[in-house]
């Protein structure tokens, strides 16, 4: 995670790496959404958004994460990071 590197001056502790990796993998396990489905979803989102704006496709990141509260009943969240190059002028 970029945020991690930014705030951490010294080397990241191995237990923090473990925790972050686990959070990801557990969110994925719980959601029942496979990496393949996530990839398909990513392609679909890019396709849809490309109608309206120019997307930096290579930098698109889509991840499932746990809700910030960290409790069992908290839902998973789909977080998409989609850099926009240029918004297209709406064609009529």
């Amino acid at each position: 995670m970029d945020l991690f590197k930014f705030f951490n001056k010294e080397e990241t502790k191995s237990k923090d790496i473990a925790r972050e990796r686990l959070k990801m993998v557990v969110a994925q396990d719980r959601s029942g959404i496979s990496p393949q489905v996530l990839e398909t979803l990513k392609i679909g989102i890019i396709e849809l958004l490309s109608r309206y704006m120019e997307i930096d496709e290579k930098s698109v990141q889509i991840q499932l994460i746990r809700n910030a509260t960290g409790y069992r009943n908290a839902s998973s969240e789909l977080v998409a990071n989609i850099p926009i190059r240029k918004v297209k002028v709406q064609a009529r």
Binding site: D29, R30, N73
Partner: protein, 272 residues
Amino acid sequence: MGEVIVVTSGKGGVGKTTTTANVGTALALQGNRVVLMDADIGLRNLDVVMGLENRIVYDLVDVVEGTCKLKQALIKDKRYDGLYLLPAAQTRDKTAVTVEQMKALSDELKKQFDYVLIDCPAGIEQGFKNAVAGADRAIIVTVPEVSSVRDADRVIGLLSANGLEEPQLIINRLKIDMVRRGDMMSIEDTLDILGIGLLGVVPDDETIVVSTNRGEPAVSNSQSLAGQAYINIARRILGEDVPVMDFDADQGFLAKLKRFFGIGAHSASEHA
């Protein structure tokens, strides 16, 4: 009417059997009638951990199939008043019993005992389904490592699907020094991922190996730190409010002062 508690984990080798043996013995030491049921058919081990392997005549499958009466299969532990073992069959496999049969057996046992502790097999297949079928509550054992915690999370989901909504967690084999260095997930880290209630923390302790070698539960050894942790867990099951052990008790004043000012790694007990 007693309570049926299943001890489960998903991953193997994290200490389910040791936990069942020690928590069960501790509950008996507190004056309860306790039966330890080994649900790991084909791979029984609760008998050797308890040091009762030479006393087995009949087993769980014999009871279920009607080869013997329940009473005949129950092994009384002569060292601890009120403690019994129902061993698993060793020459059969998990398909020898059904969910319905296990549920009926659990129901029968809780009429006779205050606590029925079920040692669940590893995995999430038939053996797991059998073991949780008759349970009123569940204890999840995990070690603070990625594979174990991930499996624990899977099991939490499966327990919930079986109507066991509020399992409680035992964090086993916590290595205090590694936690301090930031090389092992702390109690807080593990709880943050799994999001369930904490029943107890058992430190990594060589006395467990020694007591298992001898077939004597660690709770009977007053020198065993892990044994003390298991006694605390039993007391919490009985409803007592027992704080999580202070793992830093052996640390010097300077170490505590340093941690107080945030120098060096955080201690495990601060998160408890």
